[in-house]
Structures are given as structure tokens and as C-alpha cells.
Symmetry: C2
Subunit: 511 residues, 2 copies
Amino acid sequence: MEKKQLDPTQEELIQTQPAEEASAGEEKVFPEDMEPQNRMENGAESNEDEDIEKPNYEEEIASIIRGNISPKVMEERIMDYHSSDIADSLDVMNETERKRLYRILDIEDLSDIFEYVDEDRAAKYLMEMDIRKQISMISNMDTDKAVDLLRLLSQERREILVGLMDKDLRREMAMVASFSEEQIGSRMTTNFIEIKRNLDVRGAMKSLIEQAAENDNISTIYVVDENEVFYGAINLKDLIIARQTDRLEDLIITSYPYVYAKESIDNCIEWIKDYSEDSIPALDEENRVLGVITSQDLVKVIDEELGEDYAKLAGLTAEEDLSETVPTSIKKRMPWLIILLFLGLFVSTVVGMFEKVVAEVTVAMLFQSLILDMAGNVGTQSLAVTIRVLMDENLTLGQKMRLIWKEFRVGSGNGILLASFSIPAIGLYLHFAKAEPWLYAFAISGCVGAALLIAMAISSLVGTIIPIVFKKAHIDPAAASGPLITTVNDLVAVVTYYSLAWIFLIQMLHY
Amino acid sequence: MEKKQLDPTQEELIQTQPAEEASAGEEKVFPEDMEPQNRMENGAESNEDEDIEKPNYEEEIASIIRGNISPKVMEERIMDYHSSDIADSLDVMNETERKRLYRILDIEDLSDIFEYVDEDRAAKYLMEMDIRKQISMISNMDTDKAVDLLRLLSQERREILVGLMDKDLRREMAMVASFSEEQIGSRMTTNFIEIKRNLDVRGAMKSLIEQAAENDNISTIYVVDENEVFYGAINLKDLIIARQTDRLEDLIITSYPYVYAKESIDNCIEWIKDYSEDSIPALDEENRVLGVITSQDLVKVIDEELGEDYAKLAGLTAEEDLSETVPTSIKKRMPWLIILLFLGLFVSTVVGMFEKVVAEVTVAMLFQSLILDMAGNVGTQSLAVTIRVLMDENLTLGQKMRLIWKEFRVGSGNGILLASFSIPAIGLYLHFAKAEPWLYAFAISGCVGAALLIAMAISSLVGTIIPIVFKKAHIDPAAASGPLITTVNDLVAVVTYYSLAWIFLIQMLHY
């Protein structure tokens, strides 16, 4: 059906598609199956990422509010825009204009819009409404969103609002609010469809239509037994195409995935992702459905999780954005820098212990930064790989051992390659550029090479073991930032390099 | 309705919920509104992230296949599991067992399962089927998934299969395949519901039910005009609760967001995310709906995008996983290491230019690593912030300038703090630990402090400007990895430090 409909579209479209040009000729469907030159063209064609300009909806909406048409017409005009765009438009309006908007739109629309308002402005905007509107709007929002919004308010304000809400809702919010930020329960919405197992297809459809009035996430319907215990799920699609005579039991997917609301997000997020379902139910200890995690929630969670890890890898304590003030940013970045300063000072004192070596073979100094950097880089690479692996799966001890052993070999492998390149390079440089005698030049480059190899091997071990240990100690492995690993590996590198220089150059060759 | 149903659940649940204990007493709904000690308890309570063990479905499924029950029963038993788990179970089966599975399950189920099979095994497993099954199974998959799968095959094999598929399907695949990996079109599925604008509610429902038979993504229905041009979308929810007498026009959301299939993923991904819809249509140049991006696709894309950036920040060319062999990993990590080795050698030659300074004030050497590290760290922090900001929004020149200016102030701010701490610290260390005279000790610590401040200020500029320049030059800003910035900033730091030491210590104080 839908294919039929789409056909004409494609007929014409295909003409304009390079792939088809080709496939017309030699039945090539895949660009990569074409002769190079065609592929080139195609590559060129399809890589011109056309940067389509998004119209400025915010201003359009604001100008509607500023105009003087009747409230009814104004409402219709505004509701022609997506709630997300209306939410953004609040930022370009002044307080009076916003208040006008609140008066014009009805509660349902307002609560949709407020689910999109940016955290650091939501409280301000909410306070611009009268308290009745505040209460009925929050009551109308998804429970998790409502809880998030309430969290932004001052405690007394929050208590006033919550106090004035109806009992059931307060219960639901208490339930969602009782989960910590780290638990998946804090991300669930109680806005889903639940039907009893003993219904027939007609009854299920009826119950669905009743609940659909006040619930959005209808594409999956959750089935519970007489004790409210989660039994399975039905794809709305299957229910819609089912015949009245079909048995509901046959539509129920009893293998539908679920999580427990108390599980920590880190533990189940990857697992939820793998099933790529519209929504996944979150159960309590008695296996009753408390709420669902929608894939839109999932998008947000994953975005946050990875964003945090990303920031941490760079030695930031948390993510930052444009709007942030300089002092806040300084505060966020200070902690690591201070720790690193101390580590750095410690490294310096260690270098200090080798002052004799330094004084006697000054030229060796030139390559300190090289060795320290390479060790740091290799360590950071191993770190990043390990953190991602730890995030993706819960490893057995055996797998951890294999990972460590693998990283060690990768580190040494790279070490050998780089050493075998830098020994001649540095030797020649010292002989010709610095006019050092051949033996001395290569004695030093030998030290550098050996130090590179050893330091890189050890560094990759450090970069792998530290996050694993952190995880074991229930510290977020992502807390082991690149800068930390780098500085720790500085120690390794400094000690290796100067010990080698001391033994090799001073003790053995008596320079 | 649903609230009613859930109530008993919550009644009991709440008893077990710390938040409720509190709110029972002092009407506290939010844990954070409780007295410290309660909050402690609650915190403790809710933070015990219970690590629920997931049952080993793979083995269960494999054992069913190994058993000798009738095919029909076996099929029923297996289809009690989620396609994703069945896909995983293929890995624990041997070829004979897999072939048995292929024979037992029907095409629809097999194509569902294959949408979950891991990329690096999918081709192998596919080849274990006879060609008829291969063709009908691939024809049954979502177009984008089918294309991905075919991409894994050898060219001739691919051509054989594609050649044997029906013309319409080949067209659709040619269309999806014609988009490059970087374009959003490569991620869309042609599996969606599309209805004509001129239908009434009854007609729309009828058309939906017809299409639902072969299309999964039904929660949003796309509306097109007589020329197939995208007109708007209808939430299935609204259609379901609509009365026969309602006008379809009133259900259509004309403000529904859309993208063009040719847009690059980086350009529209953040934008799509903001709308948090179930699916977003991808249009061709003539504004006809080619396919949709579902939020499950979105989860995958965001996961990949951020994963790549994460890897790049750590100086990896691409993400890695456990199963990867040592040589592949070495290959992936080599490129950066080689670039960095050359940069490192260059830094060394620059240090070489200051050999005199080094020789005369050896003790200055001790703090080289400290200054280089701090500069590198600050640079990496600015880099990470800038990359994330660039990813989130398309900045105006003015905003970019503000960002650079902000980063500069943050860098200098941190520099001042760290310098003001390290000057006395190093001075005292040199005087007491290294028995240097007061003036000399503080002359050096002064140099270190000044160098720290200057290097950190410049480094944060470098870390901000480089990714911005990269983006302008249409290079992925994430390509500016932490290690790169670190090494570039080594140069800055080395030059600053030794020039200062030379001017200050040698020229002015004549040490």
C-alpha cells in the first residue's frame, strides 16, 4: 500500500539520484558498486551536505503575541507551531508578552510547552503565572517532568504547590521523586496504557480508547494480571489489525523487556538500548508496572550519560554550556587542575631526584617532553577504550584480564613501532644538528627509544587498570580523566627515562 | 483511568518508599525537603542500586534448539523470546544449530531477528541460509537495515541478491543507498504510514489499518496532499479518540517538524532531538516524504556520534570494542601517535634551542613537565567545552567571539589561582629541599608562576580557536583531539617558560 503510494515519488526522485543513473545502466543499486569515477561523482553529489536554514519560528510566534488579534484567533495561530518552538519563543518575549501567552493558551497546551522549556528558565517562567494555573499545569505534565520542574523551585514554594495538588497525583510524584537521579525510576513517566490480561480484543480496544484520552504513549500497551503484576506487552499495531475473534493472549508478547525502577541507569541503559523498543516498563519489587521509559527519555539519558563521560575525560567535573558565567566555569574546572598541580609538583620533585643526571647529560633533557607526552597519549587511548567497554558490558574477571593483556600488547606494539622510528631519527638529529659524536648521539637516542617502549607499555596498563579498579570500588570509572592518567604516566615516564639515562649513560658509558 | 488502576499498587508501594514515610509525617513529597538525617537514610536507601542479574536468555534459546521437540512447538517456544535475545543466541550456537533455527522460524521472525544481529557476524550468518531465504528475508527487513546488511556482503554476492529482488524494493534500496553515511537519509526507514489529506476520519482509520499490516511505525501518521507533498502529521492517539464526525483537518499538526534526507546528520541531529517526537519525516527536494527517522534510530545515531567524538578526544581514530584484534587496535591508534611523535620531536628541537638556558639553570628543568602538563590540561578542558558547544548549536560570529573571550578569561583565571599558589610552594621547596638561596629560589618560582599563567591563558585560546577553525574549514571539530591540543600547547609552554627563564634569570639576574 504505502509502497504503491510512494512509487511515483521514487520514480521521479530516482532520476535525480546518481545511484539510479548507474543502476539504470549496469543494474548497480549501491554507489560503492560503481566504477571509481561514477563513485567520485556520487560521493561529491551526496556529500554536498545542504545546510538547510531553519526558519525563525521563535520570532514569528512572538510577533503573533505582539499583534492585536482576538485571543481565539491568536491561540489558533500559535498552536500551529510545535510546542518545542513555542517554548523557545518564550525566551524572545518579555514578561508581559509571556503573561499574555499564558492567558491565551489552555492548560493542556501550556503543560506540553513547559515540558520543552529550558531548565534554567522554567522556574522563572512558571512564577509568572498565577498559582491556580501553576498547579493545574503541573498536574497536567508527565509525572517525571512535573517532578523535575518542582525540583527547580524553592522548598517552601514547592511545598505550597504540592500541598494544593490532588492526593493521587501527590502519591505518584512522591513515588517518582523517591528515586535518586542515578536510578532509572527517576526517568520514567506514569503516562502509559495498562490493560488487564483477561480482556478480549474488543475489551482491550475499548479500554485503550478510554485511557488514550489522558495518556500519550499508546504504541505499546502493557498487560497485567489480576494482581497488577506485569505479564507482557501488545503492539498497538497488532491490536489494530486484529480481528474481534482473535484471542488477546495471542497478541501478547510475553518476552517483552523490562527493568526495575531501582536499577541504576548505568547498569541498565545499554541493555535497554539493545532492544530498541518504543518504551520499556519499569517495575517495582513486586513486579508491578510503576511507569515506562520512552525512547525519547532514552535519547535524553544517553545524551547526558555520554556528555558527562566526555566532559570527565577532558578533566571537567561537569558539562558546561555557553550561557554559563566565567566564575562557574572556573569552579567546575578548578578541582582537577588543583589535583593535577599537586601531582605535577610531585613529578617535579621526582625529576629533582635526577638532577645529577640532568646536570651531567643536559641534552637528554630535550626529549623529556617527548617521552612524557607519548606515554600520556597512549595511556589516554587505553583509558578511553576501557571506559567505553566497561560502560557497554559487565565484564567477567576473565574478560577484564584479557582486556588488560590486550591493551598491554597494543601499547607495547605501538611502543616498538615508535621506538624503532625515533631511535635513528633522534640519533641523526643529535649527530648532525647538535654535532654530538656518533656513539653519544645513539646512546641517548637508544635511551629515548627504550624509555618510549617501556613507558608506553606501562602507561597502557595504567590507563586500563585504573578505571577497572575504580569501577570495582563503585567509583564512576569515567572519573579517571585523561589529565589524571597523563600525569600519573608522567611519573612512570620520568622514572623510566632518567633511570635508563643514569644506568646507561652515566654508569655504563661514563659520560 | 490508568491512575485508578495503578492506585492500589502505589498505596502499598508507598509504604515501602522512604519519601512517603516522610510525607506521611510532615507532608514531604520530595526527599530533598526532609531533615538531613531523613535525607541521609533516603539517600542511602535509594542509592543501593540493586544490580539485578539478567537471566541468560541466549543459552535458554540455544538449549531449545538443541532439544528434540517438534518444529512447531520449538518455534512457539523460541518466539516466546525477544528478537534481540534470539539474535544474541545465534552467537552461542554452532552452524548446524543456526541452520536448524533458520528452517524452523518463518521469514517475518527471521528478518526481525536479523535487524538485531551484530554487524561483524550478520554477513556470516546470512550466508548460512539458502539464497531464496536470503532474498525473501532481506526483502522483509526495514529498507535501511536491509541496505546496511547488503553493504556487509561481497560486491558480486550483493549484486546477485539485489538482482533477484522485486523492482519496487530495488528502487527503495537504491534510494536509501544513494545517501552517504553522513546524510540523515541513510538512517531513515521507508516503513511508515502515509495518508492523503482529503480523507475523513473513517477513511483515515481504514487506510491506517490497511497499511498497519506491513508497517510498524504507526504512532505518527503522515499526511500528504494530492501531489504527495508533506502536509502534516496526526498522532494516532488523536485519531483513535476522534469521533467519526470530527474533521480530519483538525487532527493534523501542520507544525510537525521535518528534515531533508540530504542534510548531514551533524547538522540536524541536535535539532531533531529537541522535538523529542516518536519519528520525524525525511523529505526530498520536492518536499515529498521519502522515509522517517524513528527515535530508536535517533538513539543509535546519537550513541554513535558521541561515541566517535569521545574516541577522538582521546586520540583514537575510531571506537573500539572488546572483540577487536590487537593489530586492528594498533592500526586505529597509530595515526595520531605518529603525528604526535613528529610534533613531540619538534617540541624537543625547540627545547634544544634553549639548551644554553637549560645548561645554565638546570634546576629550571624540574618544572618543565609541570608547566607543560597544566597548559595541556587547560587546553583540553577548553577543547572539550568548545566541541560540545559547536555540536549543540550553530553559533553566530558574535557568539564564537564571546566563547573565545570567555575561555580566555577562564584560562587566565585558573592560571592566576594556580600561579599564586605555586610561586610560594616552589620557592619554599627550592630553598629548603634544594638549598637554593632565597632570591634564586623565588626568581625561579616566579618564572614558573608567570609561565603557568601565560601558558594557561594561551592554551585555552588554542583549545577554543582550533576546533572553531576546523568547523569553519568543514573538518569535524572533534578531530582536534586532546593529545593534539596538548602537544601544540607544549610548544607554547616551552617557549614561554624558557624565554622567561632566559630573560629573567640569565639576562636580568645574570645567573
